[in-house]
């Protein structure tokens, strides 16, 4: 493709062209919510290892804090990461300011208010109970309105772009904006009973199918496609290498957006859902491996010729590990969708291990890498403590390994013991609690892993704080590359 002479480092006038204020706002919100969400994660991990940590109060029991954790890490942390990256990179890719500064602010403040509303209502027990769609109907209405503001702003920016061809990152952002709107609206159709309570228009297994169509694609289009977009923009920039294959990006983009939607029923294997639906869900989940690995390969191969820098640059370290965990969890997912494997894994801690190898490994690590890179770009400062970034990287990596290994072990153990029969054909472990209590050491190990991960994130936040507060420093070459 043709190169544009005035790249992004065009210099003095950049901030007047691009709205970087909104990027800074989302960046700051991301950092704060990351700490909140992960802290709640550590608290609920403690509660599972040691029940008195439920504190005997309604508002602090596991059943109310767990949705707070998932909403905080998915919609507050991961959501704000996506918005940070999208507002930053879209303007640069399209060489234009966002369509409307006002809509950008409506999006920002609207989204943060929704998160605050979630943080108040969930501990009060106001919930619709559907995983990742717990928020009560008035908040759902607010989400719809804010999403429309975001969508208009995003597509308005596309309409007045100064670059004709849309770069692959933009394709992924587009699929994010469109699909989340569709999923959210269809899964939130309810009849209100009171201001705080409502009942879905779907019943029983149909409700379950709609929810897991939503739930799996919340993973697909909230935790995967926008992050692939971020990978396609920030990995090449940090590595200063072009994307490996344009053709591969076309094939895996269309493969991913088409196949993902079908895979929802792998959450309902062995339910009374019709067999054909379960089989379709399983087959499409297995096929999903191909476009997922297409993305992973395109990311890793982009680093060809830059591997020596991975050894020294913590930003690239974060990104490499992120893409590797993406590959790992998208291998594990299709395996867990095979009925026989799912019969063992379903309901167990194995699923939690899978979730967090994707969440901590892929979503978390690509976000950290992007943020360490971006802070130097938009605040025009060098990192206050470059070595802390490396420490953060190692804490997070060790934390993930402890977390996932503990959960795999616990999951396999309970899965096997639940189903074990003795010679007489009776249950080998008839007392459920005997199995549960054997898991305790693994739950402490998971807590340790999660705590290390949180400590790393705290170091990152302090580092950011001191970087922003510190004097403006001439950024290094990696932060502001001249024309490419």
């Amino acid at each position: 493709m043709e190169r544009v002479a005035t790249g992004t480092g065009a210099g003095v006038s950049e901030t007047t062209v691009y709205d970087d204020q909104i990027v800074k706002m989302f960046f700051t919100a991301t950092t704060v919510w990351a700490l909140v969400g992960m802290l709640v994660g550590v608290i609920i991990a403690l509660q599972l290892a040691w029940w008195p940590a439920n504190l005997g109060l309604p508002w602090t029991t596991f059943g109310r804090l767990r949705p707070l954790h998932t909403n905080a890490v998915i919609f507050a942390f991961a959501g704000n990461v996506c918005f940070t990256g999208i507002y930053h990179s879209t303007q640069r890719l399209l060489k234009t300011r966002m369509y409307s500064d006002r809509l950008s602010r409506v999006h920002f403040w609207g989204w943060q208010s929704i998160i605050v509303a979630a943080a108040i209502t969930l501990p009060l027990g106001m919930t619709q109970s559907k995983e990742y769609a717990e928020l009560i109907w008035p908040i759902d209405v607010a989400i719809t309105l804010v999403w429309v503001a975001f969508g208009v702003n995003f597509f308005g920016t596309l309409a007045r772009r100064k670059v004709k061809h849309l770069y692959v990152a933009i394709w992924f952002y587009m699929s994010f904006v469109i699909t989340i709107a569709v999923l959210h609206i269809v899964n939130s159709l309810v009849i209100p009973a009171t201001l705080f309570r409502s009942y879905p228009i779907y019943a029983g297994l149909t409700d379950a199918l709609v929810q897991w169509w939503y739930g799996h694609n919340a993973v697909g289009f909230f935790l995967t496609t926008p992050f692939l977009g971020l990978m396609y923009y920030y990995l090449p920039r940090a590595a200063q290498r072009p994307v490996y294959s344009y053709r591969l990006s076309i094939v895996h983009f269309w493969g991913l957006v088409f196949l993902y939607i079908w895979a929802g029923p792998h959450h309902l294997l062995y339910s009374a859902l019709p067999d054909w639906a379960q089989t379709v869900g399983m087959v499409f989940s297995i096929m999903l491996l191909a476009p997922s690995w297409g993305g992973m390969l395109n990311g890793l191969l982009t680093l060809r010729g830059a591997w020596d820098r991975v050894r020294t640059d913590p930003i690239l370290k974060f990104m490499v590990v992120a893409v590797s965990f993406y590959g790992m969890s998208t291998f594990e997912g299709p395996m867990m969708s095979i009925r026989a494997v799912n019969s063992l894994a379903h309901y167990t801690n194995w699923v939690i291990g899978h979730v967090h190898s994707g969440a901590l490994g892929w979503v978390g690590m690509i976000s950290f890498g992007m943020m360490y890179w971006m802070i130097q770009d938009i605040w025009k400062r060098k990192l206050a403590h470059p070595s802390w970034a490396t420490h953060h990287f190692w804490l997070a990596t060790i934390g993930i390994v402890l977390y996932t290994v503990a959960m795999w072990a616990a999951g396999l153990m309970e899965g096997l013991q639940w189903r074990a029969l003795n010679d007489a054909g009776r249950l080998a472990h008839p007392i459920f609690l005997d199995i549960t209590t054997r898991l305790e050491p693994f739950l402490w190990l998971r807590l340790l892993g999660g705590t290390l991960y949180l400590i790393g994130a705290i170091m990152m936040a302090v580092n950011f704080w001191q970087t922003i507060r510190g004097p403006e420093r001439p950024a290094d070459a990696a932060a502001v590359p001249a024309a490419a």
């Binding site: 559907k130 289009f221 490419a484």
Partner: protein
């Protein structure tokens, strides 16, 4: 740098894609919308065909009573479904542990569905009738008094708190509006129904020396738990004990 990130030599592979999609945001957006819609339409719409509707319905399951609705709302509020599934799978060990596997029709009045995705505690789909009412009372108050080693938090506030009958009426009315066949949804009928079923439960608790009132939250919770899976089990076992 956007353009610079793509190797020039590769552009030829995507000439069609470049011209047809990448230059036109509107076309790209429409194509994406189509691509993401197909799977959902193919999987979800068949649930609304005549045959499917019949398969999800059965007359051997009755709607939740007002007291059970109140209990179910509390079950949702406390997030019980995050640790307890409500789905017995058709596998030998599961059926030995929990009972007959769960049929689709047993969920026909479940709004929202509460299948759950975790078993930090045992499955509850067929817990109804497994323990006496007093067991549930003690277990919710202090899980370790009935189940040593349990990791479940105590829910002692259910014993002191009272549910609001107007709230339950609103719930029953909303459920009727989405199609649950209730004979009466007016405040007076709902209140007398709550009272009638509540009195039965406090009667059974009294025999174990426990005093409670008909509108205590714990009473609603017990009513809900004690009905789970009972009708289904009775029907399936009468049909020849098929497990």
């Amino acid at each position: 740098m956007s353009e610079g990130t793509e190797a020039k030599s590769e552009a030829k592979y995507g000439r069609f894609h470049r011209r047809f999609f990448e230059g036109r945001a509107g076309v790209f957006a429409v194509a994406t919308t189509i691509a993401i819609s197909i799977g959902g339409i193919v999987e979800i719409l068949p649930m609304y065909t005549v045959e499917s509707l019949a398969w999800e319905r059965a007359d051997w399951i009755t709607p939740y009573t007002p007291l059970e609705v109140a209990g179910r709302d509390i079950y949702v509020r406390e997030g019980c479904y995050l640790c307890h599934s409500q789905m017995v799978r058709p596998m030998r060990a599961e059926m030995l542990r929990y009972g007959p596997w769960t049929r689709a029709a047993e969920y026909q009045y479940d709004r929202p569905f509460l299948l759950g995705s975790r078993r930090l505690g045992p499955d509850l789909q067929r817990v109804g009738g497994k323990y006496p009412d007093a067991w549930h009372y003690e277990h919710m108050r202090d899980p370790r008094s009935t189940s040593p080693g349990s990791v479940m938090p105590p829910y002692s506030w259910l014993i002191d708190a009272k549910y609001d009958t107007d709230d339950v009426t609103a719930s029953v009315a909303a459920l009727a509006r989405v199609g649950t066949p209730y004979a009466a949804t007016d405040a007076a009928s709902v209140a007398s129904d709550l009272r009638r079923q509540g009195d039965q439960i406090i009667g059974s608790l009294a025999t174990a020396g426990i005093t409670a009132e008909w509108d205590d939250e714990i009473v609603a919770m017990i009513a809900y738990l004690q009905r789970l899976g009972v009708e289904g089990r009775a029907h399936l076992e009468a049909e020849g004990g098929q497990r």
